[in-house]
């Protein structure tokens, strides 16, 4: 299969890049790490292998670059058996990112990133220039170029690991629990960064994790594996959450899969009420003129339209607005771009039970009740059922 350039027309046409064909890995002591696994890993997207420890996900990943040789079955890359090219040539065409980054502690950051280009015969200056370009791409300050790995934080080291894997511009990126060893805040940053980089570079990424949230967040396709190296389900994340194949997958997804699934429903359809919004300088007459039959509260905004807090109408009508007596409004959601999950979360956190929607600039766009959100959820479910294939819906930013 010829790989198209990065022109916008063909880049989103997914084909199958890596075909794992009935692969088994059996160790000399009889342990079966991977059991007759077949998987078609789509081109230019992120495929996540997820499962409990001992499910063979890392073994599967390592068979793709032949760090582990399969006992049976075969793996095809671009329709060619991976056994047909020299092993080191194969490996240099696949970036590899590992837990704790695995940087060369005796080399500077820039030389770490330049490793594979140097091995491929690039000149020193060209390789370093490429390395600096990648540092910028993964969000590392240029001043770190001459530092050594021990001088960097765990998150920064992991960024170097990603940059190093991308250095020779390989079509395939293998990532083995790359973000497991960093704290949750840094991990979220790295995940967002990976999605951003993937948006620009369109690599074929195979990503191993034991964290189902990470799998659902990053994966275009998610392969859930069970102990003994068997595939439990291979599906897009939304389908995984709505239709787990069996009790194992359902259990692995956790108790709140229903809530998490809302991440895939857009909030764009929610009907927002604007009547309860008043500016902080509104007069008693203006407030009195508002229709408060649906909403027992008023959302007070500053002069720019940004929300300040909730107030009961009768307090407002009593006179001027006391800003320090307003009820907090919790975390607002961005109307349209954020999902129903964000909207529901907002409504649950709000002391009034009403969620505040804002526009891209943070100005109040309207308010919406838990009840309305509940109706939207039911509506979305009904739509999905009617639609059948709608599970392939684009993920909504959270």
């Amino acid at each position: 299969m010829a790989r198209a350039g990065s022109d916008g027309q063909t880049r989103r046409a997914f084909g199958v890049l890596i075909r794992i064909d009935s692969v088994t890995k059996r160790y000399p002591d009889g342990t079966v790490a991977v059991d007759r696994l077949s998987l078609e890993i789509p081109d230019r997207s992120i495929t996540v292998l997820v499962g409990p420890s001992g499910c063979g996900k890392t073994t599967t990943l390592r068979m793709i670059n032949r760090m582990v040789e399969p006992s049976e079955g075969r793996i095809l890359l671009d329709d060619v058996d991976i056994m047909q090219q020299p092993v080191n040539t194969l490996r240099r065409s696949m970036g590899y990112v590992i837990q704790n980054a695995g940087l060369f502690q005796h080399r500077t950051i820039v030389d770490n990133i330049a490793t594979v280009p140097r091995m491929l015969g690039w000149g020193k200056d060209k390789a370093r220039a490429r390395a600096r370009e990648l540092m910028e791409r993964v969000g590392l300050d240029a001043s770190l170029a001459k530092r050594y790995p021990y001088q960097l934080s765990g998150g920064q080291q992991q960024r170097v690991g990603v940059a190093r894997a991308l250095a020779a511009d390989p079509p395939v990126l293998l990532m083995d629990e790359p973000f497991s060893a960093v704290d949750p805040v840094v991990r979220k940053g790295l995940q967002d960064e990976l999605l951003r980089i993937q948006d620009e570079l369109d690599k074929t990424i195979v990503f191993v994790t034991h964290d189902i949230d990470e799998a659902v967040k990053l994966g275009t396709m998610v392969a859930v594996m069970r102990t003994g190296g068997r595939l439990a389900q291979f599906a897009p994340p939304a389908e995984l959450l709505s239709h787990p194949a069996d009790a194992f997958v359902e259990d692995f997804l956790g108790a709140d899969r229903g809530i998490r699934r809302l991440s895939f429903f857009p909030s764009a359809g929610l009907e927002l009420l604007t009547a309860p919004i008043v500016a902080v300088d509104a007069t008693a007459e203006q407030i009195a003129a508002r229709d408060t039959t649906d909403v027992p509260y008023l959302l007070v905004t500053d002069l720019d339209g940004k929300p300040l807090g909730w107030s009961e109408p009768r307090e407002l009508t009593a006179g001027s607005i006391a800003v320090d007596q307003l009820l907090p409004y919790g975390r607002p959601f961005v109307a349209g771009t954020e999902s129903l999950r964000a909207a529901l979360d907002c409504a649950v956190l709000s002391p009034t039970g009403w969620a505040v929607a804002v526009d891209g600039e943070g100005r109040a766009a309207g308010v919406v009740s838990q009840q309305t959100i509940g109706e939207a959820i039911r509506g979305a479910h009904a739509e999905r059922r009617a639609d059948g294939t709608a599970e392939k819906a684009q993920k909504v930013a959270r």
Partner: protein, 228 residues
């Protein structure tokens, strides 16, 4: 002042000639030991079962008194420098082999896996990744081996004229000249300190990538290793 460094007639060189001979007889064996230890240690890393017997052999060799070595070697190498240096080279292995093995083994699994995944062959991986990262441990081993070798050269006196500063000590005792005894003992100590300092400088030069705190640890480990 000249009289301070005057040598008795049975020493056929000036004082600094003796010091230079001492240094050569002490350090050439360590270098030879390193050249033997590097491949042996790599073999021990690759074949784990080999390490305990190899350690056992180096320890037994270390336990053989140098006098016994001399008796055997004199038949082959005569009363030469070589007869002194061969046992010293053999002794250095007891420190150098474990230093290199531990150093190479201390390379994190992730680093090795990353190197393999980037397409490093075994030789390239050993030379470009494992050895450089093991350098602090190897140099720590070299420090112990060198200092020990410098003190051991003196026994070469037993086979005649090959003990360098050891012969000077012997002469001092025969002629009851404290000056010669001091020249020998202080000379040996200063030599050991200078060589040790030179190896510390070497390590600082080759490991700009090490955090400050870890440097001390590498040495402590090697000394503990040697003391075992």
């Amino acid at each position: 002042m000249n009289e301070l460094f005057d040598m008795p007639s049975d020493i056929q060189q000036g004082y600094f000639g003796v010091v230079a001979l001492h240094l050569r007889e002490a350090l050439l064996p360590v270098l030879a030991g390193l050249l033997v230890a590097l491949p042996v240690a790599q073999l021990c890393v690759r074949l784990r079962w080999l390490y305990p017997p190899v350690l056992w052999v180096t320890t037994v060799l270390y336990a053989i008194p140098s006098l016994a070595f001399f008796v055997v070697l004199i038949d082959y190498t005569g009363l030469s420098e070589l007869t002194v240096m061969i046992p010293l080279a053999v002794y250095s292995l007891v420190v150098l082999v474990p230093a290199i093995v531990d150093g190479v083994r201390s390379v994190p699994q992730e680093t090795l896996a990353a190197a393999t995944a980037m397409g490093f062959g075994p030789v390239r991986r050993y030379v470009q990744v494992q050895l450089p990262i093991a350098a602090p441990a190897i140099i720590a081993g070299l420090r112990v081996a060198s200092v020990s070798s410098i003190s051991l050269v003196s026994v070469g006196m037993l086979i005649g004229n090959e003990g360098a500063l050891g012969n000077l000590l012997n002469s001092g005792m025969i002629y009851h000249q404290d000056r010669l005894i001091w020249l020998s003992v202080v000379g040996t100590a200063v030599l050991a300190i200078l060589v040790d300092a030179a190896l510390i400088v070497l390590r600082l030069l080759v490991t700009p990538w090490m955090p400050r705190g870890a440097r001390k640890n590498a040495r402590t480990t090697a000394v503990q290793e040697a003391a075992r």
